[in-house]
């Protein structure tokens, strides 16, 4: 098989993986700080995708331009969810938190089903069928735009946690919960902010992913699972790990599809997950827990 075929597939895998990485980044941020696993993560992305579809079909607004407003809406949703509901379960056993978020996920899926029905919906932008040709390389325009936007959003998020005072306070909460309380930080508010930021990540990822993947209410659970595979591979709680995991999963699936049977490509991403769990249980960039 010619080399350019491999190159095309790898580039496509990297671009898709970056968007997957941004989605998983939200999950990693939430777990890293609050220590709550968001089992409604994929469903929240489906909500963002539907918002993008409605904005496009009703007002002709491009999902890429609407990425920030959609992220803000999801931020508000995430903030309220944490502040009004999940904070009440913070000190309860993990299985209670698990059931709570699974319930939220089921409510979201069924609400979407009632509002939008089961049919796949998509946005048909003017560049939906565009591609760039660079020598033998053909790059899908929508994936290229989405990949670049995912890198930009991730960079902004890293900068926020590194330099912004609130970002530093959130990191302090994650590093030492008791210490944060002692120095007078409002931990519950910071938790709500963190969940909001995680939800905003998934909102931005949804606005990008809808450019090349049709949305159905049933999409949510599949993407929740994908986000888990990515963050466990990259390292649960590690932000760079989420991006790395996304790219690795994207490229693994693409290359495995090319070299072996495409219908078995998911098998290879799960095989990668098993290998990581066997030889580096904390994930590729995660920190070992003692």
């Amino acid at each position: 098989m010619p080399l350019d075929i491999y190159l095309n597939v790898i580039v496509s895998g990297v671009l898709t993986g970056l968007v997957y990485g941004l989605m998983a980044l939200g999950l990693s941020v939430i777990f890293g700080v609050i220590r709550v696993v968001n089992f409604a993560h994929g469903e929240m992305m489906a909500v963002a995708m539907y918002i993008a579809v409605v904005l496009f079909s009703s007002f002709g607004l491009d999902p890429l331009l609407m990425m920030v407003p959609i992220a803000i809406v999801l931020f508000a949703f995430g903030y309220l969810l944490q502040a009004r509901l999940i904070n009440l379960f913070i000190d309860r056993p993990e299985h209670t938190q698990f059931m709570l978020l699974v319930a939220v996920a089921i409510i979201i899926v069924n609400t979407l089903l009632m509002i939008f029905g089961p049919d796949a919906q998509s946005v048909q932008t003017s560049y939906a069928y565009d591609s760039f040709q660079v020598g033998p390389l053909i790059v899908d325009a929508t994936k290229a735009y989405a990949g670049i936007a995912a890198v930009a959003v991730s960079a902004a998020l890293f900068a926020f946690f590194r330099f912004a005072p609130i970002g530093q306070a959130i990191r302090a909460c994650a590093d030492n919960h008791t210490g944060a309380l002692v120095v007078g930080l409002n931990v519950n508010r910071l938790y709500a902010l963190t969940f909001g930021i995680g939800a905003a990540c998934v909102g931005a990822a949804g606005a990008m992913i809808v450019l090349f993947i049709d949305v159905t209410p049933a999409l949510g659970p599949a993407y929740t699972l994908l986000a888990f595979v990515i963050v466990i591979t990259g390292g649960l709680g590690s932000m760079p790990g989420a991006l790395l995991g996304g790219v690795l999963i994207g490229v693994t699936e693409a290359v495995a599809g090319l070299l072996f049977s495409p219908s078995a490509k998911s098998m290879f991403s799960f095989a990668l997950l098993v290998l990581v769990l066997l030889f580096r249980p904390q994930g590729l960039l995660g920190t070992a827990q003692r």
């Binding site: 496509s12 089961p118 796949a120 069928y129 591609s131 899908d140 049709d214 090319l258 495409p262």
Partner: protein, 409 residues
């Protein structure tokens, strides 16, 4: 405890008595006409086949009025959703029978239909398959399962004959083909069928690569890259609706227009495909069970569809779902019985000549299969499908090779 006192005066008594007389009259008529046959219709109304399942539902919606117009008795339709899932199909079949369904119809998909067939046979309730092509369903010796839809070998036999006719008319033929197929029951059965039937037809092309893919996948870019890399002239497809749309998008993005896209199944002719892709939908030729536009009932069905669902074209889903209900109504009309065993015996002796699908009509062989059905080749052209083969049923000439995607406005 409080009590309710009702004062009965002469006027109230007369009103009550009149109502009782009217009710008794209605009840009498209802018994005289007999209770409607309770038919459980199982379709994938949600899940990845939801689009096609809902299209089949249009055939159900049209059947009620049209069957009455044709002089058939009423059917009481009870809907079930298989959720595009084999296990759910089985559970839903059991549920509908438990709720009193006296006959089942469905289920578009071979895997789901196989599961329902097992339940129907076990419970002794007739099951009329609307759409499902995997041959084993009617090879099990079932006594309660009937299929008015061609099996994969029947579809393939007609398909290869029609393809040769198209190549001959075009004066050109591809030498190589790549086949992409869904890895579900239907897709796998068709892929195996093509391998078995194709050598008998001495086709001008050979299949150089076969690519199986997951029809529920949300991204088929790698699959299309692999197909393009095979360097074949023809793309042979066995797919569903959503994957047909995804593959077309990838063909455009990856700048590959094969000489032709030959679909051996659903997806490429569906209204949703035509509407979603606009001009990019033109070109693929489907080799599938279709309808005979010259038959009287076909014209009636087409008119009823246009009235109830303006802008929707009549297609396989409507036709064969309607005909499955036609078989049920016909058996019920002939027997006047709701007894499942009596209905099954009546279905076995079906002989409907006033129908919609091509061929002499609807009848079943000893295995419960209508083996007299014929298939057509039809091409997407300007948002509609035109029949391009066989010659006797064609209303247009095939455009082969198809127009490249990058030359369309």
């Amino acid at each position: 405890m409080s009590s309710i006192h009702i004062r009965i005066n002469r006027r109230r008594f007369l009103q009550g008595a009149s109502a009782a007389v009217v009710s008794a009259g209605s009840l009498g008529r209802a018994f005289a006409q007999g209770a409607a046959l309770k038919v459980g219709v199982l379709l994938p109304r949600s899940g990845y086949q939801a689009g096609i399942g809902q299209d089949c539902q249009r055939g159900v919606d049209l059947a009620t009025g049209l069957l009455k117009e044709l002089g058939y008795p009423n059917l009481q339709i009870v809907n079930g959703d298989t959720e595009s899932n084999v296990d759910t199909a089985r559970a839903q079949a059991e549920k509908l029978i438990g709720e009193g369904a006296q006959l089942l119809v469905g289920a578009f998909d071979s895997g789901q239909s196989s599961a329902i067939a097992q339940v129907a046979e076990q419970k002794g309730v007739p099951f009329v398959i609307n759409i499902a092509a995997a041959p084993p369903i009617t090879e099990q010796g079932y006594k309660f399962v009937f299929r008015n839809f061609p099996t994969a070998p029947m579809i393939l036999g007609d398909a290869f004959a029609n393809q040769k006719e198209i190549f001959e008319a075009a004066g050109t033929a591809p030498k190589t083909a790549v086949m992409m197929h869904a890895n579900d029951t239907f897709g796998t059965a068709m892929q195996q069928g093509i391998g078995a039937v194709m050598p008998k037809f001495n086709m001008p092309y050979k299949i150089v690569e076969t690519i199986a893919y997951d029809p529920t996948a949300r991204d088929l870019s790698v699959e299309v890259t692999k197909a393009k890399a095979a360097g074949a002239e023809l793309l042979v497809m066995v797919s569903r609706l959503n994957d047909a749309i995804l593959i077309t998008r990838e063909l455009v993005k990856q700048r590959w227009t094969p000489q032709g896209i030959f679909s051996m199944g659903p997806g490429w002719y569906e209204d949703q495909y035509l509407k979603t892709l606009g001009k990019l939908a033109d070109g693929p030729i489907s080799f599938a069970p279709w309808y005979d536009p010259n038959k009287k009932v076909a014209k009636m069905l087409e008119a009823a569809l246009a009235k109830k669902y303006p802008g929707i074209n009549l297609n396989t889903n409507h036709v064969y779902t309607f005909e499955a209900l036609l078989v049920a109504a016909d058996a019920y009309k002939r027997t006047g019985s709701n007894d499942p065993k009596t209905l099954a015996e009546a279905i076995r002796t079906t002989n409907i000549t006033d129908n919609v699908s091509p061929g002499p009509g609807i009848s079943f062989n000893a295995k419960g299969q209508n083996d007299k059905l014929k298939d057509s080749a039809f091409q997407n052209r300007g948002g509609k499908c035109v029949v391009v083969a066989p010659k006797e049923a064609a209303n247009a000439k095939a455009e082969f090779p198809m127009k490249p995607y990058n030359q369309r406005a």
